[in-house]
């Protein structure tokens, strides 16, 4: 019954919060989703057009494209509980 997560993480180059967000999300996903996910890391400086399409203003920003509902989690993802809540992973 594995629902595959499709996630996009928007970052700005290598700012401290971006680096931290990448570390945090990878850690959470490894522990909680058992690698059942697709994560695309997008640098807005290289791909501003993608940020335009997803209407991203703040970075870092994690977009949960699937499963619905679509949700944006803004920030360096340091509050693990909030991130899990945002990803609907608070069943335990």
């Amino acid at each position: 019954m594995a629902t595959k997560y499709i996630l996009k993480l928007y970052v700005t180059n290598k700012t401290a919060s971006s680096v931290k967000a990448i570390e945090n999300v990878k850690d959470i996903l490894k522990n909680e989703l058992n690698n059942l996910y697709d994560l695309e890391v997008i640098d807005v400086l290289k791909n501003p057009q993608l940020a335009e399409e997803d209407k991203i203003l703040a970075t870092p920003a994690l977009v949960k494209a699937l499963p619905p509902p679509v949700r944006k989690i803004i920030g360096d993802l340091s509050d693990r509980e909030k991130v899990l809540l945002g990803l609907d992973l608070t069943t335990k």
């Binding site: 928007y10 970052v11 700005t12 180059n13 700012t15 401290a16 919060s17 971006s18 931290k20 967000a21 807005v44 400086l45 501003p48 057009q49 940020a51 335009e52 209407k55 991203i56 203003l57 703040a58 970075t59 870092p60 920003a61 509902p69 679509v70 949700r71 944006k72 989690i73 803004i74 920030g75 360096d76 993802l77 340091s78 509050d79 909030k82 991130v83 809540l85 945002g86």
Partner: protein, 509 residues
């Protein structure tokens, strides 16, 4: 010359006059105003006219309306914004709200926002950017400290990109605070306020005020702002230097005796008020003015509410004037319908369009009292001030008529607010004298010039229209309408005149 290079043409008629040349070039200017004060229209017009009139492409960053909304709304002004987007001249950065849930956790910045703006600027090689409105960022994100820092960064980036930017901000109410969240403190040294006040009739009145342009000159008084079917217009008060320039040459009003009373006619670009009761000769006086211009090949606009074009032409023909010929060959434009179904803004725009398109040099408004009946007092005042400002700035000489209610007796001109904008006031009156009605004409105020203070008698004849016979002699109480021959010793014309001047000074006339 040097001053001009520091500002860019705004695309908003009238704004470049109050701002002494436009929007500060290569900088960010904050436009703050309450809801409905015209911030979005100002922003869109700045970009649209920048592209279509100056060849400067633009980026519109929208926080409240979607790009589709803006394309649709600007279409009502006759602008094809969609085409400009397709031609890569106009780019949107869409920051309008989406339905997606947002959660904040930890540190963030607006890196994506800044990158998108930069991308859009490069994409269309923009010279202008409008951001409407930055206040929305403070409601979208919890950490206002971050937003402040990022907006500061944005302003610096824009400066680096060498674009001219306007940024709008919400003003909660009309009070001392310039903008919500104090945006002006960290974004810009250039601040424009758009006012939107409720008048005593429950109507909105908009004005614009330039609060500061760092190191650059500008007007500091508020100017009326109107949005018509063609977009935004601002109406600066006529400048004294403009007035000085325009007021160097006199033109004939078309009535020999009246020109003489005014020592050679009225000044070019001046505003003349002809006031009198119904049937006192106002329309025929204005016909003189129009026919005189037409003879010289000067284009005229005749705005008339009480008579139809046919009636007006017949009226002129009864004095032997072929007005119809001039109407037919386009020298004289007649505008004879009531503006009741037109809002003041639209009506004003229509007059402006005609004046510009036909290169009109003389305008008659017969009578302004008809307009006064339609619009409430404040609206009427704004209309008159705006129209007068427009006509003066286009070097148009105008004659307005004002219908007074009383046939005889003292009438107040001041009540209409018209006396303050008029350079000349010409009074037409009926006077009862020796059991017979006489016609009286008097020039009351000739701004910046000499005029004769005599109270003159005139007739209206089929041969010559208004025919000035000469001064009333040895008569007193003329202005009351019930004159008396002076028989007593010592009371002569000079004294009668002095009484009259005293009456004027006391504000009775």
């Amino acid at each position: 010359m040097a001053k001009k290079l520091l500002k860019v043409v705004s695309g908003i008629p009238g704004f470049d006059e109050i701002s002494h040349g436009g929007i500060p070039k290569g900088r960010t200017t904050l436009i703050s105003g309450t809801t409905g004060s015209g911030k979005t229209v100002f922003s869109a017009q700045f970009l649209y006219k920048g592209i279509t009139e100056c060849g400067e492409n633009g980026v519109f960053v929208t926080f409240e309306e979607t790009p589709t909304d803006i394309i649709r709304n600007t279409k009502t002004f006759g602008w094809n914004t969609e085409k400009l987007v397709k031609e890569n001249k106009w780019a949107f950065v869409d920051a309008s709200p989406d339905e997606v849930d947002k959660v904040e956790t930890g540190q963030y910045d607006l890196g994506a926002f800044l990158a998108r703006i930069e991308h859009a600027i490069k994409k269309v090689k923009a010279k202008r950017v409008a951001i409407d409105s930055v206040s929305a960022l403070f409601t979208h994100y919890q950490d206002s400290g971050v937003i402040r820092r990022e907006l500061h960064k944005l302003a610096a980036n824009l400066k680096e990109s060498n674009v001219t930017c306007i940024m709008t901000a919400e003003r909660p109410v009309e009070d001392k605070q310039i903008s919500r969240y104090g945006v002006e403190e960290f974004v810009s040294d250039n601040v424009i306020l758009l006012h939107n006040r409720l008048n005593s009739h429950g109507e909105r009145e908009r004005t614009i005020e330039i609060l500061k342009f760092r190191g650059l000159s500008h007007d500091s008084e508020e100017a009326p702002l109107l949005v018509s079917v063609r977009g935004m217009n601002i109406y600066p008060r006529p400048r004294t230097e403009l007035r000085g320039k325009g007021f160097s040459q006199k033109i004939s009003i078309g009535i020999k005796g009246l020109d003489d009373m005014l020592y050679g006619g009225i000044y070019k670009s001046s505003t003349t008020l002809v006031t009198g009761a119904s049937g006192s000769g106002k329309t025929v006086t204005t016909l003189h003015f129009i026919m005189e211009g037409a003879k010289r090949g000067e284009k005229s606009l005749f705005i008339e509410f009480e008579e139809s074009p046919d009636q007006l032409c017949r009226n002129a023909a009864s004095f032997g004037w072929d007005l119809k010929k001039y109407v037919d060959n386009g020298i004289v434009e007649l505008l004879c319908h009531y503006p009741e179904d037109l809002r003041a803004e639209q009506y004003l725009q229509m007059i402006q369009d005609l004046v510009i398109a036909k290169k009109v040099k003389r305008v008659v408004f017969d009578s302004i009292s008809d307009i006064q009946r339609i619009y409430n007092e404040r609206k009427f005042r704004t209309f008159v001030i705006a129209l007068n400002a427009f006509l003066k700035s286009h070097n148009v000489t105008s004659v307005f008529t004002n219908t007074t209610s009383q046939i005889l007796g003292v009438t107040e001109i001041a009540e209409t607010h018209l006396s303050t904008i008029s350079d000349n006031i010409i009074i037409l009156k009926y006077v009862e004298l020796g059991g017979r009605m006489h016609r009286l004409i008097s020039a009351l105020k000739e701004r910046g010039s000499m005029h004769k203070r005599d109270l003159m008698e005139f007739e209206i004849t089929e041969e010559s229209g208004v025919d000035i016979i000469g001064p009333f002699k040895d008569v007193e109480n003329l202005m009351s309408g019930f004159a008396r021959r002076i028989r007593q010793m010592g009371l002569n014309k000079e004294e009668a005149e002095r009484d009259f001047i005293a009456e004027v000074a006391a504000g009775k006339i």
